[in-house]
């Protein structure tokens, strides 16, 4: 402190700002930025094995990726997975939030029930679903055979394996996103509803013209999280299908895990990581700069 007014007008405002940002910045650098740069560097190198150190191989790891049929399969699967989980879990979350926002009997119980999947660990959830999907005596089979449908090996046939793991993801995510929608709905001004009621607006009209636009910031937030999760959620694959049968349910991150920790091919795994980073950063930037402009903030 050099003089009394300096408390309001620091002589080096930028310097002080940097100083205040420093702790967070250091943590971010050490655990986020530096690993990304390190991964980029490793993706241009061969995998060190035993006594042989890594050597510079340029774009070879990326060439391997282009020639890797499992990578393309995982990418296609992941796009399907994202394409299904994003609208389904957001739609479901919104529907559930609107439902438990009403004054109904057992509201607290319902809210808790919807939120339960979120607090359960994914591995435990997957173990439960494994027995839901079990052919012949699993829950799903019991229901479908009671309705007179035939038996089906949900996780064991390539046509349904991806759908089955997608469903688990939606079930897991919807409850979590519901909480955000519920919070947003409760912060809406109640006078809007009263005004709409006086004007004689239908519930659908009120939702479409009042609630939905006002929920847009929440939707954007949920959307970003949902996109990230679509590329990040693979825990259940380890229990349910291990990417099988014949890679029918492999997702990008699972493939990355296999390459990195089953095959110990760290060079190629780094290249795969870069692709996932680029996809996620791209998706996030798109949402921030394109979708954000259309969002109505109060």
């Amino acid at each position: 402190m050099r003089g009394s007014p300096s408390a309001h007008r620091p002589s080096h405002p930028a310097g002080q700002a940097w100083l205040l940002l420093m702790p967070a910045l250091l943590v971010l650098m050490a655990f986020t930025h530096w690993p990304v740069i390190g991964t980029l560097w490793h993706s241009f190198q061969s995998t060190p094995k035993g006594g042989r150190p890594a050597v510079w191989v340029g774009l070879e790891n990326y060439q391997v990726m282009v020639d890797d049929p499992v990578f393309w399969k995982a990418l296609a699967n992941n796009l399907w997975f994202a394409g299904a989980t994003i609208p389904l879990s957001i739609g479901l979350a919104l529907a559930m939030a609107l439902w438990v926002n009403e004054r109904i009997a057992g509201r607290t119980f319902l809210r808790m029930a919807y939120f339960t999947p979120t607090v359960l660990p994914m591995i435990a959830v997957a173990n439960i679903w494994l027995f839901f999907y079990t052919p012949q005596y699993g829950l799903l089979e019991q229901v479908s055979s009671a309705l007179g449908f035939g038996s089906h090996n949900w996780l064991g046939s390539p046509s349904t394996a991806l759908g089955a793991v997608t469903l688990v993801a939606v079930w897991k995510e919807a409850g979590f996103f519901m909480i955000f929608y519920l919070a947003a709905l409760q912060s809406l001004n109640p006078s809007l509803r009263e005004a709409a009621a006086i004007e004689g607006a239908s519930r659908w009209y009120f939702f479409r013209r009042v609630q939905w636009p006002l929920l847009m910031p929440t939707t954007l937030f949920v959307l970003i999280n949902c996109v990230i999760n679509a590329f990040r959620m693979v825990d259940h694959l380890f229990v349910l299908t291990r990417g099988g049968p014949d890679n029918a349910s492999t997702l990008l991150l699972y493939h990355l895990y296999e390459v990195g920790f089953n095959f110990w091919d760290t060079g190629y795994a780094s290249a795969l990581t870069m692709v996932i980073i680029v996809v996620l950063v791209g998706a996030t930037l798109l949402q921030f700069f394109v979708l954000d402009r259309r969002v109505h903030y109060r």
Binding site: G50, Y137, S145, G150, L155, G244, P245, F263
Partner: protein, 432 residues
């Protein structure tokens, strides 16, 4: 002079290390830390038994502190062990799949047991194991792993369902033809044509290649050479074996698609499958949970008899200190002594690893009361090594993908095996 030998040893060690400096003295007083990773791959109270072993060993060896660490499945355990190795602080010893041997050698992670076997007694111990188990534990003239929780695939059948189907409940199928015949009789359908009970079930998730060896071995095909550098997936005998598996499904006597490994014992308890193939490691689990009389038999043969061995070996990690490695050697030796191996076998269903274990009174009596426990041992003379090569997981994945593609009908058996061969050749070209 001094009656207490423990104090004597301590004093001697202190004196010896005292020469190396005061820090050495401090270390000698602290017990040798023996971190030990182990996986659990079957049902039963494995962790309790392991903790009991650790306590028993520490009582007899006060200078060593064993810390058993449950590390998940086999896959999770090797990931943890190798990650720790790469970061410079691996466990001193770990039980890992016998098939991980080449991977661990390629990573320069393990030390051969020959380094520590100095006395004739040590050497006799290393020669005491069943030859079938050593096939996966030795390469290049060195012993890299010591058999511990070893298993083999056997056949379990439901005697009640055999009776219902008009089959002799005490006579299991011994050939492919008999198997197919029995399975057909054991398959039941309800009024709407839905199958309610399958005759035979061979799981194919997770590690289908291992179960596949129960078909290739009887068909007289060996999938990989001893050096782990060459595979033979496109051998007509291999394709024929896969065709047999696929045909069981096509005939409707084996569940369609990929069958989950984890739920297979439950399918057996629920009488949804009359005959299952699974590891002997599940014996105790099945004995405890099956509410009907069941039989355990050798895998049916075709051109010959046979089944793959499987399961885990002890490995010693190279980056630990010499004292720790010695301690790990001692522990492996202690825990595989006949009485302990017999106890382990009775508590888990794993195969006891040496002939001597089967001659202990405890296991002899157990075998008399429960002859099913001896089937795996009797199958050992015709057993082959579990499939393993260099870059094992990647080659194995190529085979697994091919098997699943054929079983789900996306590829013909011939096409699937030729594709897997091509992929394996590409991966293995670096090791020739």
């Amino acid at each position: 002079m001094r009656r207490n030998t423990f104090v004597q040893t301590l004093a001697a060690t202190a004196l010896l290390t005292g020469i190396a400096g005061f820090s050495g003295f401090a270390q000698a007083q602290a017990p040798v830390d023996l971190q030990f990773y182990y996986p659990v791959a079957v049902g039963g109270p494995i962790a309790k038994t392991i903790d009991g072993f650790a306590e028993g060993f520490m009582k007899e060896n006060p200078g060593i502190k064993v810390t058993p660490i449950y590390a998940g499945t086999y896959q999770e355990t090797i990931v943890k062990a190798l990650t720790a190795h790469k970061s410079g602080t691996p466990p001193v010893t770990s039980v890992l799949l016998s098939t991980d041997m080449f991977t661990l050698i390629d990573e320069d992670a393990i030390a051969p047991f020959d380094n520590f076997a100095k006395t004739p007694e040590d050497k006799a111990w290393m020669a005491s194991f069943y030859k079938a188990f050593m096939a996966n534990s030795q390469t290049g003239g060195k012993t890299w792993g010591i058999p511990f929780q070893r298993s083999t695939v056997v056949m379990y059948w439901n005697k009640e369902l055999f009776k219902e189907a008009g089959l002799d409940p005490n006579k299991a199928p011994t050939t492919w033809a008999e198997l197919k015949d029995a399975a057909t009789k054991l398959t039941k359908k309800d009024a709407s044509g839905k199958t309610t009970q399958y005759g035979i079930q061979i799981p194919s998730s997770g590690f289908p290649y291992w179960l596949f060896q129960t078909l290739t071995t009887p068909n007289d095909a060996i999938l990989a050479n001893d050096a782990g550098t060459q595979v033979k997936f496109d051998d007509p005998k291999v394709i024929e074996a896969l065709q047999f598996w696929v045909d069981l499904g096509k005939a409707g006597i084996h569940p369609p698609g990929v069958v989950e490994w984890g739920t297979t014992p439950k399918d057996f308890f629920e009488k949804k499958a009359a005959i299952i193939y699974t590891t002997t490691g599940n014996l105790t689990n099945i004995k405890a949970n099956a509410k009907f009389d069941f039989g355990v038999g050798m895998i049916p043969g075709n051109k010959r008899k046979g089944s793959p061995t499987g399961g885990g070996n002890f490995y010693i990690f190279k980056k630990s200190t010499p004292a720790q490695q010695e301690a790990a050697f001692k522990f492996a030796k202690w825990v595989t002594q006949p009485e302990r191996a017999a106890q382990w076998s009775m508590e888990t269903g794993y195969v006891a690893v040496s002939q001597a274990a089967y001659e202990t009174p405890a296991l002899k009596k157990y075998g008399q009361d429960f002859p099913a426990a001896l089937v795996a041992r009797d199958q050992l003379p015709v057993s082959v090594a579990e499939f393993s090569t260099h870059d094992n997981q990647r080659v194995t994945k190529a085979l697994n993908d091919g098997l699943q593609a054929a079983l789900t009908g996306t590829k013909t058996p011939a096409q699937a095996m030729q594709d897997a061969q091509k992929e394996a050749d590409r991966i293995l070209r670096a090791y020739k």
